[in-house]
Symmetry: C2
Subunit: 409 residues, 2 copies
């Protein structure tokens, strides 16, 4: 049911020098599925991450943040699906730490160089014993070309694995950026994302990574929403293995820095849009662009009001050009001095409303034509300033309710 989202072609997912991926069946929630992924990283690798703003952030997120506070050095990511280890208090923290410790001992690296991630049901006890028992087989299975399998092994309600890859030339060397992500519901990243991992073999000063991951998040995962629910486990980690052989990048505002950033943003954005395309019950991919705001923040407020409105989302599901619902959402977005008489609304190329009312030339059949498409751009022009922003979302269907009513059964 995902919207124009093909399963990634494994041959298009370039291995990243210094990265090996092993997968195993730990039986976290269900037997017989790959639910444990270990990503091991060459010595000298550095990482940075952005994490959920949810105050109920999960135990693994708290451990990740602590480990990254001790320095950017990282040697392994360990990811389980089936259980989020969130809302689990002190006991959850101990279990996340235990997984890190067991893996670190096996790899003979410091515990704080292991970053743990969990996704799945909230408020249930993590079966860390089963995870730890499966670590040896995951380590034994490691391969450089396991990206597609990893994308599959981290899924929960996703229907399509999500992976993206780019290569750029930097200083005469090919630099690879490859990433995976999971997520379909509880998606309204706030300064962070669902689970996403992007690795590059670029040689880059570790202190630049935090700015880079933040910028990539702002251009990708921080612009999507499925249902407005910010997850307890959102994590987006960028890893640089430093293996590509080119001269070290020490500034982001250099040609080399720009080339790398563009590749990372492109991979991140493709992954973020893949999450929306696979949004629970999604049948349409909606781009909401708000122009003419005084600030980017107010553009964001308006775009999220539209993207979160259940009434707007059900109208998209029904292909019903009930476009007054979009104006209503603009009106309640929280801009106190908004003047409805200056506002224009477009659906793709169709000018629907002007000066707060229906456009004289607007015909219902033009709106209906656009609403039938699987990809639609809503554009609102506030005509009160120079700022603009874009967010991506999906429609709201029977299947969203079915999926979320059935999720645990």
């Amino acid at each position: 049911m995902a919207v124009n989202l093909p399963v990634p072609d494994p041959s298009g997912l370039h291995p990243v020098r210094g990265v090996e991926i092993g997968i195993a069946m730990a039986g976290v929630r269900k037997a017989g599925r790959n639910d444990l992924t270990v990503i091991s990283l060459a010595e000298g690798s550095a990482a940075a991450g952005v994490f959920t703003a949810n105050r109920f952030c999960a135990a693994p997120v708290q451990v990740c943040v602590r480990h990254l506070q001790t320095g950017s050095a990282v040697r392994a990511l360990v990811i389980n699906t089936g259980n989020a280890n969130a809302g689990t208090g002190e006991d959850g923290l101990a279990r996340a730490m235990s997984v890190c410790r067991v893996l670190a001992d096996r790899m003979d690296v410091p515990t704080e160089h292991v970053l743990p991630f969990s996704t799945g049901v909230i408020m249930e006890t993590l079966p860390n014993d089963r995870i730890e028992a499966a670590l040896p087989s995951a380590l034994a299975e490691r391969r450089a070309d396991h990206w597609a399998q990893a994308a599959e092994a981290i899924m929960t309600t996703d229907t399509v694995p999500k992976a993206a890859s780019r290569q750029v030339e930097i200083g005469g060397h090919i630099v690879t950026v490859t990433g995976i992500a999971k997520g379909a519901g509880m998606i309204r990243p706030n300064m962070a994302t669902m689970l996403a991992f992007v690795a590059t073999d670029a040689v880059i000063a570790p202190e630049l990574l935090q700015a880079l991951v933040r910028e990539a998040a702002d251009e990708s995962f921080n612009r999507i929403t499925v249902d407005g629910d910010t997850s307890t486990n959102d994590s987006f980690v960028l890893v640089a293995t430093q293996c590509a052989g080119h001269e070290r990048i020490t500034r982001l505002d250099s040609p080399q820095g720009n080339a790398l950033r563009d590749a990372i943003v492109a991979v991140s954005r493709q992954l973020a849009q893949a999450i929306v395309r696979d949004g629970e019950g999604a049948s349409k991919f909606i781009t909401v662009q708000v122009d003419g705001g005084r600030t980017t923040d107010e553009c964001r407020q308006v775009s999220y009001a539209i993207a979160h409105s259940p009434l707007v989302k059900t109208a998209f599901f029904a292909s019903d050009p009930n476009l007054g619902r979009i104006l209503a959402a603009v009106g309640y977005a929280g801009i106190a001095d908004l003047d409805q008489s200056t506002i224009d609304l477009y659906l793709d190329d169709v000018h629907v409303a002007t000066r707060g009312g229906r456009h004289p030339a607007y015909r219902e059949e033009d709106g209906a034509r656009v609403m039938k498409q699987s990809e639609i751009t809503v554009r609102v022009d506030l005509h009160r300033g120079p700022s603009t922003t874009t967010v991506w979302t999906c429609d709201f269907s029977y299947d969203y309710v079915r999926i979320n009513a059935d999720y645990r059964s």
Copy 2:
């Protein structure tokens, strides 16, 4: 499908001295249904209202606000269903004014003593000619005991008419408070409500009415949500016909003022809860109580985060005690310094979570037992202050999607 919401018994809706109600078929959207209501008020009646905070507020709302700015005197309310006259620009304003003018001329009262209200589809032209043509028959049909019929004539996607009535004794005289409301979707009143009209024959200084209607709204309509969409047409008007014969109330903090306020709050709250019970697709009535906040505002933030979460609402629909979703909503409610380790969560009498994790004594079957009920109280204790608040909402079902995907067809 409404949750424990019987059709009001007409004999329980006490007429209000000085109020007469006439109903007609104007054919606003569909032929053959009562869609026009005129409520005429005795000379000397005073009114006050609170209206939508949506910046795309509808033409009739703008006219109401203007008319009430000229003074509290009011002689008629005119309400149509089928068309909201919202998102209609200058043309919509002219049409709303035209309806007022035609009715005022017929009744021989000033135009600014008529308050117009519209509800229905947004961004379509109001057929004011058909409304004006039906005004004479509505006026001719006026009766004091037409409250139940009026409750029905203002419905849109409502499945049950909403009306409530109370009587209190003030200074040896019986004072009546009777009201009606409509609303089932696009419900997240913000400083206002959907359409609600409460009338009393109390004798009260007109300058007290604004404080009274604001307080009644804060205790009722400003505590409900169905889907988080704030309507363009929310209006809550309180009318006092001054006909009850008791000594004039000049202070709200008097025994007489308190008695009247309590009756008005009780009627308003019953109407507000009726809107939630009839929420689009609702199968459960949920009370969300947040205790222990530093301020009422932060309690409200948390309670609305829970009440708006599609994931929480679908879990209620499914009777699935997937209660981690409630913790996740608490976590993203926007309280920056919230400490998850202090939080308790209860479902009715069941203690679900403590210190940010599952309560040791919590058993899934206890959660499941409560989740099966048609009325459920979620209580969160933040343990960080003395404030508390309560909001009412409903679950989120297949039928919400069906109703809103089909609304215009």
